[in-house]
Assembly symmetry: C2
Homo-oligomer: 460 residues x 2
């Protein structure tokens, strides 16, 4: 029976194919069209994804174009005859240089470029010296000396990568050093030939590096320093939003939970941004003065600001855990405290926002001390609200409220107090940054500032 | 006067030099000896640092030796005549391959090696195809087609790096693809010559890659997977120690603070290990089965365990902040709660330690459910201790204890409860790992396990 049905079906299929009837109705065409549709869907999804990557940050697409441009420029050395004669077969090294050292950020290109030049020169010179020495010894000693020196130097240079400073600043250089040393050392050329080869190679690498630097710096440059600056300010803003948002949501009467809940997860970016910060700060030190960032801009201080922000984000994380825990405080007690809680979080958030804008426009904030004072007043109010909490519970209309039910609120209060301390630490690190980087003083009159200061003194 | 004194001094110096008197007493010799001593000190410090890097993990020194060995093996192709004739001048590519792809871990070497082979083949083949096509067109079209294709492909390939999957798995391959494509495309050779060059190059790269793989896998291999496994277990152990230690210290009567305080900072390693975990997990997927880790070992699950641990570490961080805050609870209240606090932290710590040893020996734990049950009992006890806290305060001998003074203790309690939840999440992720990786079942009799299960049922 079953096989009969299958046969019938297969006949139907065959008929449909030979007759070439409507594609949508027949099983086999269905299979094809479904596969085709699936493929189309996947391709369009992929295309959308790719488009989004470019649209999110058009500098990425620009980076691709820049690499193409740099390579095209270098390949001109092959197509243009006079230049071709100049650099000869070693023009390969110029292409290789462009492909390998062109980095997304200017700092990255400079880091790799300088490393490549220095490492090629030192590796080549050292190999040449040893070659010369081995040549003098002559005979059976020559391969022995060359082989031993290659083994020892490669081992030592590889091991040196484990030194943190070498890893951070010369990792790429070490690779090139070993490469150049090995190539020269085992090339088997006579010394005078090597010198010619080395000269050619250094000049072609120089051409490659120069083209990279020029394209990297003068065509839509991506500065690692600028990116670090932006990352820190964006993260600080996210921290401010998260802090205000998650406490606000907790006390929001409407409790439109999970949807808005997602909005306040910005602090998670802060938790996970250490690696990017480290790498950007490292590359930024290679960059020349640009935009508002002078030579020797204190990039390392940004890492300290980032660490202070992460320190604060840990607490917000714990706060978030508390807020989303199963044990919820009774509504009227929540209401009793909502105002002061919201005040602390919004004042702390204001401090962070002011700090953000101070870093963003690279100007010392005129009112940060005032805002910190207000945050501390709010914290004091929170303290006294906590002091009167037992009375509030006792006099509450529903006598069923137990002490345990207030525990989440007490924890949130403690965490808010701790967060306010950590926000102050962020402000301190930003102030140090302002001093080190020479942020412009705030554009308000001295009188006004003095008034503000007086206010703070009274407040504190 | 001053200049007279200076002159006198300089005379003294000159005298001292000409007389060659005691080195220690004279200013100029002093200067020299101090500089010499300073140099000696710096060199010895540096040497100690280098020694420590090697002594901390002897595999690092071994890695250096392995690179030296691989390079020496490859350079044999130059010194040994028959082989030399075989691979000719392109042996340079074998050396370059070894220098560039030899990575600290087996996974790293395999990742780069496969990327290099695949990218060289595809890049070369594609360039060859376009070259052939341009050749057919001939005349002025040839450089135009070649130049345009180079520009477009280099741009597109560079842009593709921003796709997360490409970045994670084929970043190195993209570099090599562009490099090979450019070199072949602009080489200016005729097609038949290119085929010969390509054959030679692929064979030399194959030799380089093979030597790398052999040395990397068979001489003291460093497995990224094994390192990831170790990192996760070490971090879990640190978490257990930190949790137990910092609560223990808080209630310790002796309060020998700052010194022992440093001991319990292990959780900070957990906070900062995301980048290492990601990179190790990525490399581990390239590795073949080794040791206890089979083919398709669930390395991604380790990342989930790591994330769960970090989630717990955030809370421990907040707890640590609370413990070290200025506001301290009165001693007798602390004493009232110390036992139950210590019990929760030690039970949670026991759970973590059991989980650690389960991962470490890759065996399902026979008693983890029992331990979780005990942790939950301790948490329940903590709950009831908190419930009776107001009475404890009321009946305390000193009536001056205010509600506010107990706030830190309440916060610590809440955080401990939250931590216990997060510890359970760690255990869940470890259990998933155990299922995915097929951990061996625990080596206790079924009866015993049933007993344990019964106990848990009763406890919960």
């Amino acid at each position: 029976m079953a096989s009969g049905e299958a046969a019938k079906k297969s006949v139907e299929w065959r008929v449909s194919v030979t007759e070439g009837s409507s594609v949508k109705l027949e099983p086999e065409s269905n299979l094809f069209s479904r596969a085709w549709k699936g493929l189309k869907l996947k391709v369009s999804e992929f295309a959308k994804k790719v488009w989004r990557i470019g649209a999110d940050d058009p500098r990425r697409a620009m980076h691709g174009i820049k690499v193409g441009l740099a390579l095209s420029l270098v390949s001109l050395f092959y197509y243009t005859r006079p230049l071709y004669d100049g650099v000869g077969g070693t023009a390969m090294w110029a292409i290789m240089t462009v492909v390998v050292i062109f980095d997304y950020s200017v700092g990255g290109s400079l880091y790799k470029g300088f490393n490549r030049i220095v490492a090629t020169s030192t590796g080549g010179a050292l190999a040449l010296g040893i070659h010369f020495f081995a040549d003098k010894l002559g005979g059976t000693f020559e391969p022995l000396v060359l082989g031993t020196s290659l083994f020892l130097l490669a081992s030592a240079a590889t091991f040196s990568r484990f030194l943190p400073i070498v890893k951070a600043r010369f990792d790429y250089g070490i690779t090139i050093f070993i490469l150049t040393f090995s190539l020269v050392s085992v090339s088997g050329y006579r010394v005078d030939k090597i010198v010619t080869v080395a000269e050619e190679r250094v000049s072609t690498i120089g051409i490659g590096v120069s083209i990279c630097f020029l394209v990297s710096i003068f065509i839509c440059p991506v500065w690692a320093g600028g990116d670090l600056h932006l990352l820190i300010t964006k993260n600080m803003e996210k921290l401010a939003h998260s802090l205000e948002g998650c406490v606000g949501d907790y006390f929001d009467a409407n409790e439109s939970n999970s949807a808005s809940h997602q909005k306040w997860q910005g602090y998670k970016c802060v938790l996970n941004s250490k690696a990017s910060e480290d790498s950007l700060a490292n590359l930024a030190t290679w960059e020349p003065a640009h935009g508002n960032f002078g030579f020797r801009h204190p990039w390392k201080q940004y890492l300290k600001v980032g660490a202070a922000m992460r320190y604060c984000a840990y607490c917000i994380e714990a706060l978030n855990g508390c807020i989303n825990s199963d044990v919820q405080a009774p509504k009227h007690i929540k209401k009793h405290l909502s105002e002061v809680f919201m005040k602390v979080s919004s004042e702390a958030s204001k401090v962070l926002k002011e700090s953000t804008s101070s870093v963003s426009v690279m100007t010392k904030s005129p009112c940060i001390d005032l805002l910190i004072g207000e945050m501390n007043i709010a914290v004091e109010e929170l303290h006294s609200a906590m002091r009167t909490l037992p009375d509030a519970i006792a006099t509450s209309s529903s006598p069923t409220v137990s002490f345990v039910e207030t525990l989440p609120l007490i924890t949130i209060a403690s965490l808010l107090i701790e967060i306010s301390t950590r926000v102050e630490a962020i402000v301190d690190s930003v102030e140090e940054l302002a001093n080190l980087a020479g942020f412009k003083p705030a554009a308000i009159s001295n009188e006004k500032q003095e008034d503000a200061m007086k206010g703070v003194v009274q407040l504190v």
